[in-house]
C-alpha cells in the first residue's frame, strides 16, 4: 500500500514520463549554495516542480517554503537580501511574475537587491492551462529597470543560469523549463551576460530565438537547409541585457531576421530585437514568431507549440516568407 502511495505522490503534471528527471538547475543551485553561504532558497509551495527538493533536504536551515503566498515571498526575500543574503525565489512563471509584480518592482528592483526570481512553466508549455501559462512575463519584466532576464534553451544551460544569476549585480528572472522526459546525456555549457550564442551558422537569414524555440529553430534551419536556405540560429539566452551587437551583426551579414519565442509577440524577445533594429534605422525583411496576442489553453507541449504557431513548421514558414521579401 505505502509503496503504491509513494508512486502516486510522485506525479506532478510536469514529469510526463514518470521516470526520475534530472535536477540540472536544482543541483547547480545546491552546489552554488554549498560554496556561498549567503545563498538561500525560498519557494511558494512548488518544491519538486521547481527542482528545490534537494536544497530543502540538504540545506534545510537555508530553505523556506513560505506557503502559497508569492507576494509575501518577494517581500521576505527583500528582508533577507537586506540582511546580506542572496535569495533565490521559486514558483511557476505565471505566479512569480504576475502575482508579485508590485513587490518585485519595490522590494527587489528599485533597491537593486540580489533577489533571483526563478520561474518554471514558461509560455504555453503546460497542460495546466491559461491560469498557469505565462505568455507575457518577459514583456512585463523587460520593462522593469535593473532586472535581467535569462532563459535557457535546454538542460545543458541550466547550471549556467545559476552562474548568470549570481554574476548579475541585482535582481534576475530565470525562465526555466524542466525537461518533461529524461534528456539524453549532455555536457553542461556556459553562457555570458549580454551574449547570444550562435548555434548554427548561415548567411541567408538569421533566426533569433530563446528557450524552447531554439530547438524548433534548429529543426527549421535543417529543413530550410534542404531547400537551399542557409539560416543562422542564435540562442538569445540573455534576453535582457540583449546582445544588441549580435543582432546588428546578424542583420548586416544575413539581411533578414525572424525571431522565435515561447511568449506573446507583444513585448518579448521579438520586440527587443525590433527595438534594436529600429533604433539603428535598419529596415530589413523581419518577422516575429510567438503567440499572436491571444490567450492559450492547456495541452501537451508539442501540441500547444504547433497549435499556437511557435514550432519548427511555423518558424520554417516564416523564414520562407522573409526570404521571398528579401528577394
Amino acid at each position: 500500500m505505502s509503496e503504491i502511495l509513494t508512486k502516486l505522490e510522485a506525479a506532478d503534471f510536469i514529469n510526463r514520463s514518470f521516470k526520475p528527471l534530472p535536477r540540472s538547475y536544482g543541483d547547480a543551485l545546491v552546489e552554488a549554495a554549498k560554496a556561498d553561504s549567503r545563498i538561500v532558497a525560498l519557494c511558494a509551495d512548488l518544491v519538486p516542480p521547481t527542482e528545490t527538493d534537494r536544497f530543502r533536504d540538504e540545506l534545510p536551515h537555508r530553505f523556506e517554503n513560505v506557503g502559497i503566498a508569492e507576494a509575501n515571498m518577494i517581500g521576505i526575500a527583500g528582508g533577507m537580501a537586506r540582511s546580506g543574503e542572496i535569495p533565490f525565489c521559486h514558483s511557476f512563471c505565471a505566479f512569480i511574475v504576475k502575482r508579485a509584480l508590485d513587490q518585485i518592482t519595490m522590494q527587489a528592483a528599485y533597491p537593486k537587491l540580489p533577489i533571483k526570481l526563478v520561474g518554471f512553466l514558461p509560455g504555453v508549455a503546460t497542460i495546466l492551462g491559461v491560469s498557469h501559462q505565462a505568455i507575457e512575463d518577459v514583456a512585463i519584466l523587460r520593462a522593469v529597470p535593473e532586472m535581467a532576464i535569462f532563459e535557457p534553451s535546454g538542460p545543458e544551460y541550466h547550471a549556467a543560469m545559476v552562474r548568470l544569476a549570481l554574476d548579475w549585480d541585482g535582481p534576475v528572472y530565470l525562465r526555466m523549463k524542466r525537461p518533461e522526459t529524461p534528456p539524453p546525456p549532455f555536457e553542461p555549457r556556459t553562457l555570458s551576460i549580454g551574449k547570444g550564442v550562435i548555434r548554427r551558422e548561415g548567411g541567408d537569414m538569421t533566426i533569433i530565438s530563446a528557450g524552447l524555440c531554439v530547438a524548433e529553430s534548429l529543426a527549421a534551419a535543417t529543413t530550410l537547409g534542404e531547400e537551399g536556405i542557409d539560416a543562422r540560429v542564435v540562442d538569445m539566452a540573455s534576453i535582457k541585457p540583449l546582445d544588441a551587437a549580435l543582432v546588428l551583426e546578424s542583420a548586416a551579414s544575413s539581411g533578414a531576421i525572424i525571431t522565435a519565442e515561447n511568449h506573446s509577440i507583444v513585448g518579448g524577445l521579438g520586440s527587443a530585437v525590433a527595438e534594436v533594429l529600429a533604433d539603428e534605422g535598419i529596415g530589413l525583411p523581419f518577422k516575429r514568431i510567438g503567440v499572436q496576442d491571444r490567450f492559450c489553453e492547456g495541452g501537451t507541449t508539442p501540441y500547444l507549440m504547433n497549435q499556437f504557431g511557435i514550432d519548427a513548421t511555423a518558424i520554417a514558414d516564416a523564414a520562407r516568407q522573409v526570404m521571398r521579401r528579401k528577394g
Partner: protein, 280 residues
C-alpha cells in the same frame, strides 16, 4: 547603542517632533499632519528609547530595524530621523519640494536608514519577516519593528506575512499598528472594520497587547513585554488620537488635512508653550 532617557525627556522630544511636523506641513497648506501628531509618541518611544541603532553607522548589522510600512506618514518619520541624528535637521525644510529626497512617500534614496521603500501599502511586514528570519539564521539579537497603518491591514499581503510570522514563531518581530481609525475615505467603520483585530492577530499566533498609543510609558512597557515574549511574534494595537498634542486639532479625523497658515501658527504656539512647560 541604546539611548537612555527618562519619560520627561522623551515627552519633550515628542513635542519637538510635533513642532517639526507642523513646520514641515505648513508651507504646502495641506498634508499628513494629523497622522504625524498622532504617531509622535510611537516614533519617539521606538527611536529614542526602545530600538538599538547607531546614526553614525546606519547599516550596523546588529541594529534593530524599524520599518514604516505606512510610508506616507513622513513628516513625523523625517522629523524623528533628523532629531535622532541620521541627517541634518535643516533638510526638513525641503520636505515635499521638487528634487528633495524628503518625498511625501518615504523612499530609501534618502538614505539606508529608510529600511525599505514601502509606499505601496502592505509590503513592509513581509520585508520585516524576511529580516527576522535572516536574523535568526545568522544568530543576531536584533529585533524588527514594523509601524503599520490600520487601514493598511486591509491589504492581503499583511495577512500572508502575519501567518508566516506566527507559524515560524518569530519572537524577534514586533508589529505595531497605529490605530488612528482613519483611512483615505474616512472612518474605518465606513470603509471596512478590522474588528475584532486583537482576536484576529491572536489567532494568527501573535502575543497581543492593546495600549494607549499616545502614552509613552505604556508604549515602553509594551515593547518590554514584547521583548520578553518567547516563541511568538508580538502585536501592539496602539490606539492613537489624530492631531494629538494640539488642542484645536486633536480628534479631527482627516486623512489629508487642509492646514492654513493661521491654524499652523496657533498649533506652533501651543506646542512651544508645552515645550516651555516641560522645560520648567
Amino acid at each position: 547603542m541604546k539611548a537612555k532617557r527618562n519619560l520627561e525627556e522623551l515627552e519633550a522630544i515628542a513635542t519637538r517632533l510635533r513642532l517639526h511636523v507642523v513646520d514641515m506641513v505648513a508651507p504646502s497648506g495641506q498634508g499628513y499632519v494629523q497622522q504625524g501628531l498622532g504617531a509622535a509618541d510611537i516614533f519617539t518611544s521606538l527611536y529614542f528609547s526602545e530600538a538599538r541603532m547607531d546614526p553614525a553607522d546606519p547599516l550596523w548589522p546588529d541594529r534593530d530595524r524599524i520599518f514604516l510600512t505606512t510610508a506616507h506618514n513622513t513628516a513625523i518619520f523625517y522629523a524623528t530621523l533628523a532629531e535622532r541624528g541620521f541627517f541634518d535637521i535643516e533638510a526638513l525644510k525641503t520636505y515635499v519640494t521638487d528634487g528633495s529626497a524628503l518625498e511625501i512617500n518615504s523612499c530609501e534614496r534618502l538614505g539606508p536608514f529608510v529600511e525599505a521603500t514601502c509606499g505601496s501599502l502592505g509590503q513592509g511586514l513581509s520585508v520585516a519577516v524576511g529580516c527576522a528570519l535572516a536574523a535568526k539564521r545568522q544568530g543576531r539579537a536584533c529585533r524588527c519593528y514594523v509601524i503599520c497603518g490600520d487601514g493598511e491591514m486591509q491589504e492581503g499581503q499583511i495577512w500572508e506575512a502575519a501567518m508566516l510570522a506566527g507559524a515560524r514563531g518569530l519572537d524577534n518581530l514586533c508589529l505595531i499598528v497605529d490605530y488612528n481609525f482613519v483611512q483615505s475615505e474616512g472612518s474605518m467603520n465606513r470603509v471596512m472594520s478590522l474588528e475584532p483585530l486583537m482576536a484576529k492577530m491572536e489567532s494568527f499566533g501573535f502575543a497581543c497587547q492593546e495600549v494607549d498609543g499616545n502614552d509613552i510609558g505604556a508604549l515602553l512597557s509594551a515593547y518590554e513585554k514584547a521583548r520578553a515574549t518567547k516563541g511568538k511574534p508580538s502585536f501592539i494595537k496602539a490606539n492613537t488620537v489624530m492631531g494629538k498634542g494640539v488642542a484645536s486639532l486633536e480628534g479631527l479625523m482627516f486623512h489629508q488635512l487642509r492646514f492654513p497658515p493661521e491654524v499652523a501658527a496657533s498649533a506652533r504656539a501651543e506646542l512651544e508653550a508645552q515645550l516651555g512647560e516641560i522645560r520648567r
